[in-house]
């Protein structure tokens, strides 16, 4: 029952796939977070009325399936003749997707800082930037970090969808092995275990921080 045709080089192939998953995730999360912080600040500073177009645009990224977004992004880059490889396209689409969610998190974090605290900072003669840097940022980070960790894990899991653009990441790699070795359950279980091992500890840390840092205690 425990004999398998899986060889070490196949496992290396899977590891390569996992590396691709992590690479796509890291690039997208970093870019998406920077964009998200920027958009979040714009949304808070401009108010609901003036930032309505931005809100709508970001809402589209959250209401359309990621698979469709990836296909559209890929079609658009070939229409515009940008000649991007699948990796770039995937990262760009995933970054925008991440940014859409991150904006909400950042906005929630900034809104959680009481306006009186910010006014106090300004009354002490701090500039807008100093207020943002020394008052809002530390307080907002406490509120936002647990959900940001959740978002990162979400993007890690959603990055499985880039297989549709032909990128060989963890799930696609295991699918290729399944096609060759015809042992779907065993290989998929390895694949799931890898996802689980990456995701579970970080999710636990997020849950711990959420409990530890909850604002009303």
């Amino acid at each position: 029952m425990f004999s398998t045709a899986l060889t070490w080089s196949d496992l290396a192939f899977l590891a390569q796939g996992a590396g691709m998953t992590l690479a796509v995730t890291v690039v997208s999360v970093v870019a998406g977070t920077i964009l998200g912080i920027l958009f979040g600040m714009i949304r808070v500073e401009l108010g609901a009325y003036w930032s309505a177009p931005l809100t709508f645009a970001l809402d589209v990224f959250r209401s359309v399936p990621l698979l469709i977004q990836l296909v559209l992004g890929n079609a658009l880059q070939s229409i515009m003749r940008l000649g991007w490889p699948p990796f770039t396209t995937s990262c760009v689409v995933l970054s925008l997707y991440t940014a859409a969610y991150c904006t909400e998190i950042v906005r929630g974090g900034i809104s959680a800082v009481p306006p009186t605290t910010r006014r106090a900072a300004r009354s002490l003669g701090m500039t807008w930037w100093q207020d943002m840097r020394y008052i809002v940022a530390p307080l907002a980070t406490r509120v936002s970090l647990p959900s940001w960790i959740g978002l990162t894990l979400g993007v890690m899991k959603d990055s499985a969808l880039v297989l549709w653009l032909g990128l060989i990441e963890l799930l696609r790699a295991s699918q290729i092995l399944v096609t060759r070795l015809q042992e779907p359950l065993f290989i998929l279980m390895i694949c799931g275990a890898v996802y689980f091992i990456i995701s579970f500890p970080i999710a636990r840390i997020g849950g711990y921080l959420e409990k530890r840092w909850s604002p009303n205690d």
Binding site: V60, S63, V64, P65, L66, L67, I68, Q69, V71, L72, N74, A75, L76, I79, M80, R81, L153, K157, D158, A160, L161, L163, W164, L171, Q175, V178, E183, P184, L185, F186, L188, M189, C191, G192, Y195, F196, S199, F200, A203
Partner: protein, 221 residues
């Protein structure tokens, strides 16, 4: 600017097909949500039961559902179950995968909602002579559903978006599948998928608004 001629007409001509697909999408999402809700309530009861085996089973389900990609879960239902001689059609595999995912996330929602209901409520119910099942069903469950309603509607929107993953296991009757078939025939990728995106967006928005209206109607005192 683009050096590409858009053929929106083809996409609009295919709109009726795509709307049929949208119906199938909604159907799968709804069914997966109903199955998911039932399983989630079961999992919540398992976790409350104090039985270590049941509790372990529920925890394992929730953690696997939450810590692996939805696409992986659908693959597992489609390819993985084949090892046991269970061969699901893409429709059933998609349904099973999404329902499994929904159940995990909903059970976690329910756990959060349960924490919001004080223990004293159950005890008050028991003091009035209710059995523990009655106290759960008549006192705790309605309040829990009230707290968990909005997160659950989010999950419903997620379920709609997740149905698009069916296309990767060969599903060709839902919105993404229909779009992909049309695309394979004419290679008007951008036009077809842009239209599909609009339909998905409308479905998501209508569901969100409907849920809000429903919550406003049902949950006012």
């Amino acid at each position: 600017m683009f050096n590409y001629t858009f053929h929106w007409n083809q996409a609009f001509k295919a709109l009726p097909h795509m709307l049929d697909g949208a119906l199938v999408t909604l159907q799968i999402a709804l069914m997966s949500m109903i199955v998911g809700l039932a399983c989630a309530i079961g999992l919540t009861l398992f976790r409350l039961s104090g039985n270590r085996i049941l509790n372990g089973f529920a925890t394992a389900w929730v953690e696997i559902a939450r810590n692996t990609p939805a696409l992986f879960q659908i693959y597992m239902a489609h390819f993985g179950l084949g090892n046991f001689g269970i061969h699901l059609t893409p429709f059933t595999a998609l349904l099973v995968g999404i329902a499994f995912n929904n159940a995990g996330y909903l059970a976690e929602n329910f756990r959060g909602a349960l924490k919001a209901i004080p223990d004293t409520q159950t005890r008050a119910g028991r003091s009035l002579g209710m059995s523990s099942m009655q106290a759960f069903r008549l006192i705790v469950l309605p309040q829990m559903l009230r707290v968990a309603f909005l997160p659950a509607t989010n999950q419903m929107v997620w379920a709609v978006l997740m149905t698009s993953l069916g296309v990767t296991v060969g599903m060709n009757t839902d919105l993404a599948g229909v779009t992909q078939e049309l695309n394979a025939r004419s290679f008007r990728t951008f036009e077809f998928f842009a239209l599909a995106a609009v339909i998905y967006y409308v479905i998501a928005k209508v569901l969100t608004l409907a849920a809000r209206a429903l919550a406003w109607r049902m949950f006012r005192y």
